[in-house]
């Protein structure tokens, strides 16, 4: 799928999810009527909304024209490309507002009272800070009954239907593992993964830091000069900030997922065959 098509679909789903009508859709150019909520979130006009609310008036939300098809770039509208600030804004908004969930797999016809098995799914971004940076996303699932770990989890769940309410004739099982301790298990799993990585970058960072430190000290030699001494301290502090090898685990989002026994089984068995293969 081309990048333009990906952006197009992403934007369309995004606004549908947030209840904004798509007024015009010329596959590649979208005109979106914003709701009050989304106007306030995206259009950066706090004074307008402050005033409207104070006066108790009806707001007049704007519409947004977004172009994803490069061949339509000449038309009026905001062109969306990788790295476009508008796209980042959507990402940011999504990440800020969708941290937690609790979902039940949709079961259409259950012959008996079927138990739903609780899973904890946590998605994280691992940032590696050396003299350069990189990051990884991980999606880890943990069965809260018997502690099986599944990774990647989101890719497995992607095409399953979930709802915020439990389907008829099914019941949720009570977790044997508490969510908080389940989360700690998942963190340990990720840390093991980090430990197992190649560590040359750590050494390289320390060598580069030492080299840089010597260079800085060669330029700020006058220790008696108060201003110069302070600047040296500041430079060294910056250096430590930039060149101290470290890893941070940042949570993207996470939630409780209740799966049928059947789904849970297929996921785990896939996992086992996947493990055997590697």
């Amino acid at each position: 799928m081309s990048e333009a098509v990906q952006h197009y679909q992403f934007i369309k789903t995004f606004f549908q999810e947030y209840g904004c009508p798509i007024v015009e859709d010329n596959s590649g150019r979208l005109v979106i009527q914003l709701t009050d909520e989304m106007d306030e979130a995206l259009m950066n006009r706090p004074f307008y909304w402050h005033y409207i609310k104070k006066m108790g008036r009806q707001g007049d939300p704007m519409s947004l024209t977004l172009i994803t098809d490069p061949s339509l770039r000449e038309e009026k509208g905001e062109y969306i490309h990788s790295g476009a600030p508008r796209l980042r804004q959507f990402y940011q908004y999504l990440l800020e507002n969708n941290k937690y969930t609790k979902l039940y797999e949709t079961v259409n016809h259950s012959p008996i009272h079927a138990p739903m098995i609780p899973w904890l799914v946590v998605n994280v971004k691992v940032h590696y800070f050396g003299k350069q940076k990189k990051d990884e996303t991980h999606s880890v699932g943990l069965n809260l009954i018997h502690g099986t770990i599944l990774s990647p989890a989101m890719e497995k769940l992607e095409n399953i239907e979930f709802e915020p309410t439990i389907s008829d004739y099914t019941f949720p099982m009570t977790p044997l593992i508490k969510v908080a301790s389940g989360y700690r298990r998942i963190l340990r799993f990720i840390e093991e993964h980090i430990e197992a990585q190649d560590k040359t970058w750590v050494q390289e960072t320390l060598v580069a830091r030492e080299k840089e430190r010597k260079l800085i000290e060669a330029f700020f030699t006058d220790k008696d000069n108060e201003a110069e001494r302070r600047q040296l301290e500041k430079e060294l502090e910056d250096l430590m900030g930039r060149f101290t090898p470290r890893v941070t685990i940042e949570v993207i989002n996470g939630g409780m997922f209740y799966l049928t026994q059947e789904t849970a089984n297929t996921m785990i068995s896939h996992e086992k065959t996947a493990l055997k293969r590697t």
Binding site: F14, G83, N97, N98, K99, T101, E136, E191, V247
Partner: protein
């Protein structure tokens, strides 16, 4: 190695799942994950941007430069590639990479006014980045990526708003113009709040080692102390820098300089031909008449008129007439009057005829450089008489007009006639022939001219014709300066260093001084000979030492 983790998420989640308000839908949960994945940078090395720009053809040195700036230099660098190697592309790539990595969203790009539109177009066409070039009432605060001229930015009330904004990235094109720290421009740039900063210049060291001091102190404030202590420590000469290992390392940490020869760009060759032209008898007579002025006028008057007569009757006529109006009707005026009468009788200029002769041999496009407005007008008229279409180009044109002229030249006209001030900034890779109708006295400026067509994107060999008239001041300049330095065969980079070592500030001014201070041809010749031999001497030393 330290691992920092989010300790509290587990408890928060346990608490929030029982609160329907904070629960999100499956679709939104998936979208948020997708957003996080999309903004992931999976590798320490390399550029993520490349996979997002499949249509862009990059040269290896351009990719390397962008990688170096991001990974090794932490986004603070002087990009000092030679003219025509694609500094704008490198800077655009850095910008794109930072944007995709989510490290940059507020950007200020400062360029000469003539380049603003070109930047906006290039960012858009090559990098799919929508930049904003403010005109009347700029929205400094709202716009994310702004391209503007430094002259506009530093003016009230814009400057206060701009200085109030924290920019993630500031790019300054033609940064060699910042070499004087006493100027408002320099102070303004220094005061900008910037996380990352790129300075673009083809000539990082124009004259003195202190030029490098000034550029570095924008990027790494405080490192080199103040100017006077710097001078005390490092002196003025480039040689001293070579000797100082720390300074060298620092410069190496902030500067990228690709040379044409290292980049494989020399694929398209540069063919330079000197066209010797003979004045007609009448023209030569008038030219000789100029000698009479020497006795009664300052020597630079003679020099000016001689240069102008070598360009066109019109150029010379205009200034002689102005001079005549200024002086009283004393006997000094008689020479000027005679001169004017002589010029009025002259037929078409020998150089103009030569120019038409060359252009008529082919249908290809030509850019013609002259030093004088009057010659520009004359040449345009003269070409028209021969059924050759042409457009004028001047530094003083407004932005829109420049773009329009460039477009007319590309799509319709065969010839563009440009004056010196147009030498910087306009890119004409679609043209491969250049006529230097008048030669500048500073050979560095010629390199700037040639860089307009012999640059990244040029697909054919480039032909340069240099015009010079025998038995005139032009012959001196050509023989004594250009030929001896063999400038045309070499990249200008070397000359930078050589002039640096000789502490010559502006070669053009040096030559002009020699010509006007000398009392005879003989003296001028000896002095110019001395100058060129010193330059060639230093050059061979330079070569053998590096």
């Amino acid at each position: 190695m330290e691992v920092i983790r989010d300790e509290t998420f587990g408890e928060q989640l346990a608490e929030q799942v029982s609160n329907p308000e904070s629960i999100c839908s499956w679709e939104k949960f998936k979208l948020a994950y997708q957003a996080a994945e999309d903004a992931t940078v999976p590798s320490f090395e390399g550029l993520v941007a490349l996979s997002h720009l499949p249509h862009l053809e990059l040269l290896p040195h351009q990719r390397d430069a962008a990688e170096d700036i991001i990974h090794r230099m932490q986004g603070r660098a002087i990009l000092a590639d030679e003219v025509g190697l694609g500094k704008t592309i490198e800077a655009g790539l850095v910008l794109k990479e930072y944007m995709i990595r989510g490290m940059v969203s507020k950007v200020l790009i400062l360029t000469p006014a003539s380049l603003v539109n070109q930047w906006v177009t290039e960012l858009y066409e090559k990098f799919l980045i929508q930049a904003y070039a403010p005109r009347k009432k700029p929205a400094w605060k709202e716009a994310n990526i702004i391209v503007t001229s430094i002259d506009m930015a530093k003016r009230e009330p814009h400057n206060r708003e701009i200085l109030d904004t924290a920019y993630d990235l500031v790019i300054i094109d033609e940064a060699h113009k910042l070499k004087n720290p006493a100027t408002k421009n320099f102070q303004f740039v220094k005061e900008l709040q910037k996380k990352y900063c790129l300075l673009l210049t083809a000539t990082p060291i124009q004259n003195k080692i202190t030029d490098i001091f000034n550029l570095v102190s924008i990027l790494k404030p405080g490192y080199l102390g103040d100017l006077s202590s710097f001078k005390k420590q490092y002196g003025k000469k480039l040689g001293n820098m070579e000797g100082n290992v720390h300074l060298k390392q620092l410069v190496n940490n902030v500067m990228i300089r690709n040379r044409r020869e290292d980049t494989g760009l020399s694929d398209t060759k540069r063919m330079v031909k000197t066209e010797w032209i003979q004045f007609t008898e009448e023209e030569q007579q008038v030219y000789n008449q100029l000698e009479n002025i020497k006795g009664t006028h300052p020597s630079f008057t003679y020099l000016t008129l001689a240069k102008e007569l070598c360009s066109s009757r019109e150029a010379c006529y205009m200034s002689s007439k102005q001079m005549l109006e200024k002086i009283d009707a004393n006997e000094n005026a008689i020479h000027l009057k005679n001169l004017l009468e002589g010029i009025e009788q002259l037929p078409h200029h020998a150089k103009a005829q030569k120019m038409v002769e060359i252009i008529q041999q082919t249908d290809e496009k030509f850019i013609v450089f002259t030093e004088y407005r009057a010659s520009q007008l004359y040449l345009q008229w003269y070409l028209q008489q021969h059924g050759i279409s042409s457009v004028p180009f001047r530094g003083g044109f407004k932005r829109g007009k420049k773009d329009w002229m460039k477009q007319l030249f590309r799509d319709h006209a065969q010839v563009m006639i440009a004056t010196e001030a147009a030498g910087e900034g306009i890119n004409l890779q679609f043209c491969r022939n250049m006529i230097n109708y008048d030669l500048p006295w500073n050979p560095m400026r010629l390199e700037q001219r040639i860089g307009r067509i012999h640059r990244f994107g040029q697909k054919q060999d480039v032909k340069i014709y240099n015009f010079a008239i025998r038995n005139t001041i032009e012959e001196h300049i050509m023989n004594m300066l250009y030929d001896k330095i063999q400038l045309f065969e070499n990249a200008i980079g070397e000359l930078d260093h050589i002039l640096e070592q000789l502490d010559i500030k502006d070669l053009g001014m040096e030559v002009e001084a020699i010509m006007s201070e000398s009392t005879s041809h003989g003296e001028a010749k000896i002095k110019l000979d001395n100058l060129t031999s010193v330059i060639s001497n230093t050059k061979s030393q330079w070569r053998s030492s590096s």
